[in-house]
Symmetry: C2
Subunit: 181 residues, 2 copies
């Protein structure tokens, strides 16, 4: 995926209304009522926070998984997908010091991260933003979009991932749920 | 490796004097007489260019390779290493769209990039800086340091890598050679 920079802006106004904001692991993020998703760098002024990340090349997905994902994953912005989740995550120093093959093994062979996500396609659209190399407070900002009738399925997906070995390497996680008109 | 941002500043003054600057592939970079290496973000003002990159986690190295590298790779800044090379590289869209396993296979199983580099250790110190996610003009800035008596060995290393399949995916490459007192 081509590099595109996105800013997630938390404040008291915006397109997406926050219905729930929960600190799962580590330091909380200031509570806000709205989040805006902007495809550019937004300065931190008159807002509570700005989280930045870039779409980027695949770090773990192999050829077969890539072809499967391309064939079933829906686009962001479907009219019926009025629910969203923004899940910022920071992984530990231990994780980042692991070699590539061990990170892949933990993520997929042991935690089935990719395989689990595929089971919720095409109901749940997903876009991953990388913040590690930008020096952002979160390594990943994952943005999910789904229809209200798929909200329960999304809860299962989030719950399944949090129960995996991969999550032992998560140092900070915030779960922000949103709706739009 | 922990994330650290470096700026490589090309101008008419600095610590490292340019002895040769050559465009290997693609669009040239403005000729300069000196390069400074600065561990912070440097604004583009009164200099010819600033290239930025971050040290980051391993993208391809497996456990055995990581242990080997840690055991033999020297530090940057050895007193006798008065020669350096700065090699900015941009890879093609085709490369970045490949899944992880295919990029790894091209880089190592077919091109022996890691294995070739190991053969020149500990003579040639190396630090890799990633610019892709920063939106920089180059995806990689590799900085090499070696003693004058290892200059010939370094030429062989650079030549070997340029002859590999991996280099078919290089869209732009500049080779800058430097010395310091």
């Amino acid at each position: 995926m081509a590099r595109r920079l996105f800013s997630f802006v938390g404040s008291n106004t915006g397109r997406w209304q926050v219905t729930r904001m929960e600190t799962c692991i580590g330091t909380p993020l200031e509570q806000v009522s709205f989040v805006n998703v902007v495809e550019e760098d937004v300065p931190l002024a008159q807002v509570a926070w700005v989280l930045r990340g870039v779409t980027s090349y695949e770090r773990y997905v192999n050829k077969a998984e890539q072809q499967l994902l391309i064939s079933v994953q829906p686009a962001i912005g479907r009219p019926q997908a009025t629910c969203a989740a923004l899940i910022p995550i920071k992984k530990s120093v231990v994780w980042w010091n692991l070699p590539q093959d061990e990170r892949r093994a933990i993520l997929e062979e042991q935690s089935h991260h990719i395989q689990t996500g595929v089971q919720y396609l095409p109901a749940v659209a997903r876009r991953l933003h990388h913040g590690h190399d930008l020096g952002e407070p979160f390594d990943f900002l994952t943005w999910f979009e789904y229809a209200p009738e798929d909200a329960e399925a999304f809860e299962r997906l989030a719950g399944e991932l949090r129960g995996t070995e991969e999550w032992d390497y998560v140092d900070r996680e915030i779960d922000i749920r949103l709706v739009r008109d």
